[in-house]
Symmetry: C2
Subunit: 163 residues, 2 copies
DNA sequence: AAAGATTGAGCGTTCAATCTTC
DNA sequence: GAAGATTGAACGCTCAATCTTT
């Protein structure tokens, strides 16, 4: 009807790659969240919070460090930890060394929850990510994600974690 | 699905790959959403809805087909299209051939919005996804994402209806 | 009865404002 | 004043129930 120019689009082969990537971006988090929700009654973000504490010294982290690890905002973490605290898996206490910080500490029940939940989650990750790929593709995926993360967030803490 | 007799652990190099992938899963959608919100005042999902209509015959799609294309639930689409309709970019009308369907139609203003928004979005995708990769890696990424999507969703786009 | 679509309630995330401690 | 953390309101998504058309 009107003579407006066509919107600029990706090239044909790029379009295919982009379609596949958006598929992963949407479906993979959905399926992992579904597995955790069904088998453990927690979200993927909640799992990352519990798992992060389970790997820390004394099973303890400052809220801000935990937020960085779980890749979420401090406000979000504060609300989520509030819920996990009600469920008895985490407790909070001010840092004795510096009262501005809040320490999040994994309880014994929280530790048990992680131990019970981790195998199923690891299995889901393997099933949906690693099993369908060849060894070479797994290596390629590591390279590719490292580059993309580098381009998205050149100075962020994740680039450091990936070396 | 049955219980795995022995839970497998992620190997060291797999852990690195998984860390990189989770980084992409969280950061890439965030940066693309931020670009669209800042430059065009719409979310990535809203963009996909408008872009999907802009590529369709007569700039028209049934709601259910549009939901499949944009990889979202019908309920979500219905709410989003309601908002886009208020903004004047889409109008809805019952399908004359079958009254159960609702046709979503891109208005002239909606077309203009896509034309104005697409270049910046395509540029962001290039910058964060394609530019940091070699040609070979772009091809590899296409293969890899195709396999992962296949493992996540073996039965096509109707798997969303599962639970 | 079945399929497409919409609606409202419930819930989690985001954002800005606030509070505390240094 | 600055940084860490929390809170409440606004907004969007999810889920189940409902409505319409076939």
């Amino acid at each position: 009807v009107d003579d407006a120019p066509e919107p600029r689009r990706l090239e044909g082969d790029e379009q295919q790659v982009w379609l596949g990537l958006t598929g992963v971006l949407i479906r993979l988090p959905a399926v992992l969240d579904a597995q955790l929700q069904r088998d453990a009654g927690i979200s993927h973000f909640e799992y990352q919070v519990l798992a992060g504490l389970s790997m820390a010294d004394d099973r303890t982290l400052r809220m801000s460090d935990l937020a960085t690890f779980a890749e979420g905002s401090l406000a979000r973490l504060s609300q989520v930890v509030g819920r996990l605290e009600k469920r008895g898996w985490i407790r909070r206490t001010p840092d004795p060394d510096d009262g501005r910080y809040t320490l999040a500490i994994l309880t014994a029940e929280g530790w048990d929850k992680v131990v019970a939940t981790a195998p199923g989650h690891v299995e889901a990750v393997r099933q949906h990510v690693f099993d369908p790929l060849t060894k070479a593709q797994q290596r390629q995926l590591g390279d590719i994600t490292r580059r993309i993360v580098g381009a998205v967030d050149p100075h962020g803490p994740c680039a450091e974690k990936l070396r």
